[in-house]
């Protein structure tokens, strides 16, 4: 592995990114992902618009708690989760179904380089969509409070750190779930049932023993969000409290999950065959 190899792989990954990012963003089948990402943005902006129209003064603390709950229970658990399902499961499976994967496989590109290129394209696409969604929702949170209150929240109350933490968490969620669903796209001919199982596993995370909690993406994401909203409802008493993981360990954990997914997917991609059913 010399310098020439690395520069070739960089050029090839760049070529893959150019093709894939455009395809991911413009896919008609991905329209619902934009809708998922836009849902909290629309809610927050409607809320802000109504308050501005009625000249109501909002409690920023209360609103930020609502945002935190929405981010934790809707954005992470549903929007980003299923958004990543939509993008990463299709990276290879979708092209196999559209019978266009051979375009890549006929190029002098190492299968692992193709895998990394496609994964990065998925991460960039989903991160841009969901980080933008998060940022726009946060702007809506601040736009209808008095300017001084907003400035105080951002620069004196740790709000800027919260903003960056939310956006970073959204990006890390895309990285973590991306690795998981990329692998699932290789392992299962029909990934619907496995996706449902992962969804249930992630949802059951608060009720899992401390050790098992660590085998999920949402556990590490919870450790990164700045305001954690405790589970409520009839089954809340079943939730097992565990010490939050320090941020650096949570980031490392997420990256480890993503890398494990990529490594296992790389084993699969090496064996990948084109069999569209011709002859």
């Amino acid at each position: 592995m010399n310098h020439d190899s690395w520069s070739l792989w960089r050029a090839q990954v760049a070529a893959i990114l150019r093709l894939e990012i455009k395809k991911n963003f413009l896919a008609k089948r991905g329209l619902w992902i934009y809708l998922l990402a836009a849902a909290p943005v629309v809610l927050m902006w409607v809320h802000a618009a109504l308050n501005l129209r009625d000249h109501r003064v909002c409690d920023l603390g209360h609103d930020s708690l609502i945002f935190a709950a929405m981010f934790q229970f809707f954005y992470l658990r549903l929007a980003i989760f299923f958004g990543c399902v939509g993008v990463f499961l299709r990276l290879f499976r979708g092209e196999m179904m559209e019978k266009s994967l051979h375009y890549y496989l006929l190029a002098p590109v190492r299968r692992e380089v193709l895998l990394v290129g496609k994964y990065l394209a998925g991460v960039i696409t989903t991160s841009i969509i969901f980080c933008t969604g998060t940022a726009l929702a946060l702007i809506a949170l601040l736009v209808h409070v008095p300017r001084t209150a907003a400035e105080q929240y951002l620069f004196a109350g740790g709000g800027l750190g919260h903003v960056l933490a939310y956006i970073g968490t959204a990006a890390l969620a895309c990285i973590g779930y991306g690795g998981v669903f990329l692998l699932m796209g290789f392992l299962f001919r029909n990934p619907v049932v496995p996706v449902v199982l992962v969804f249930l596993w992630e949802g059951a995370n608060p009720f899992l023993p401390a050790l098992l909690k660590r085998l999920s993406v949402i556990f590490y994401l919870h450790s990164l969000i700045p305001i954690s909203v405790p589970a409520q409802g009839d089954f809340a008493f079943l939730a097992i409290l565990s010490t939050p993981t320090p941020a650096y360990l949570a980031v490392a954990g997420l990256l480890l999950i993503a890398l494990a997914g990529l490594w296992l997917a790389a084993r699969q991609v090496r064996k990948l065959e084109i069999n569209y059913g011709v002859e």
Binding site: A15, H102, L105, K271, E273, E279
Partner: protein
């Protein structure tokens, strides 16, 4: 192994319980080689194995010294025009080739120049800026061909490359294959249009139900089919008179006057000896116009080897 051949060593490929190809042993030299066989005979499977799109269930494949499971090296010198008629969404003809060359790691200027050269070669310059989705079948075939040749490969694998081409483009494409083969490249073509294969191939590989039933130059293959005596058509002015003399030869199995009455169709087990003795037999007043094999072609060989039930070609 010479390093200048495409080698299959005892290669088999199964799709579950279904046979793709079985115990294939081949050594393909440079030149135009045609894979001939009906649908399902294993032509595409063999090509996909050659290019690493499929892996053999057993056996070993070597493409000029490179294993097909090493795409990074293989596709530097291999171009494959597949039968798959699907393209990445939304691409123009130019983008299709250009992006492919960028995947090779070519910088923009070089990729651009090579793209236009390949597009010019298949005569699609005017349509290069149009979306492939709007191309006709023949244009799609040509843009795939452009993709296969754009990086000047040494080995060109072409799955039914003449499908959908009009006669003029077909003739130009065949000329292109010839010119590539003359420069010492391997051109592997699959086809079920036998007269076309006959006209362009240096050697043929006949496939049936996943087995290689014959390989080599078509004349050589024909000579080895001993169960079916060779047919020779003798064009002359007095076929009846010639027929009466020809039966004196012990190598002749059958002789009959041609339907048009202007020739004699002879079946012989030893064509070389027959040719030698023919001149001695020619009687006065019989003028020979031509003497040529009548079933020394892929179609006849295929029928003799596989039989009429071998599949529809």
């Amino acid at each position: 192994m010479t390093g200048n051949e495409i080698v299959f060593e005892n290669v088999s490929r199964f799709y579950g319980d279904v046979l793709g190809v079985n115990r294939v042993n081949l050594a393909i030299p440079p030149g135009i080689t045609s894979l001939v066989g009906p649908n399902g005979s294993g032509k595409t499977t063999l090509m996909n194995l050659m290019t690493g799109l499929l892996r053999p269930s057993q056996g070993r494949i070597d493409i000029l010294g490179v294993a097909p499971d090493d795409p990074e090296r293989l596709f530097r010198f291999v171009g494959y025009c597949t039968q798959f008629d699907s393209f990445p969404r939304g691409m123009t003809g130019y983008q299709f080739i250009y992006a492919y060359l960028r995947l090779h790691g070519k910088p923009h200027a070089e990729a651009d120049e090579m793209t236009w050269r390949a597009i010019d070669r298949v005569k699609l310059t005017d349509a290069a800026a149009r979306k492939i989705a709007g191309y006709s079948k023949g244009m799609r075939q040509r843009i795939k061909l452009a993709q296969a040749i754009c990086h000047n490969p040494t080995v060109l694998v072409l799955d039914e490359p003449l499908n959908g081409l009009d006669p003029l483009v077909r003739a130009e494409t065949i000329a292109l294959f010839r010119s590539l083969a003359e420069t010492g490249k391997h051109v592997i073509i699959s086809s079920h249009i036998l007269h076309e294969v006959d006209a362009i191939s240096d050697q043929v590989i006949l496939l049936s139900s996943g087995y290689v039933v014959a390989e080599g130059q078509i004349h050589g293959v024909r000579t080895e089919v001993e169960d079916h005596p060779m047919q020779i058509l003798i064009r002359c002015n007095r076929p009846g008179a010639l027929a009466s003399r020809i039966f004196e030869l012990d190598t002749v199995v059958e002789a009959c006057v041609h339907n048009d009455g202007k020739g004699l169709l002879v079946r012989t087990r030893d064509p070389d000896r027959f040719y030698l003795m023919l001149n001695r037999l020619v009687v006065d007043g019989v003028d020979l116009e031509s003497v040529a094999p009548a079933d020394d072609d892929v179609n006849s060989v295929y029928e003799y080897l596989i039989g009429p039930d071998g599949g529809s070609i």
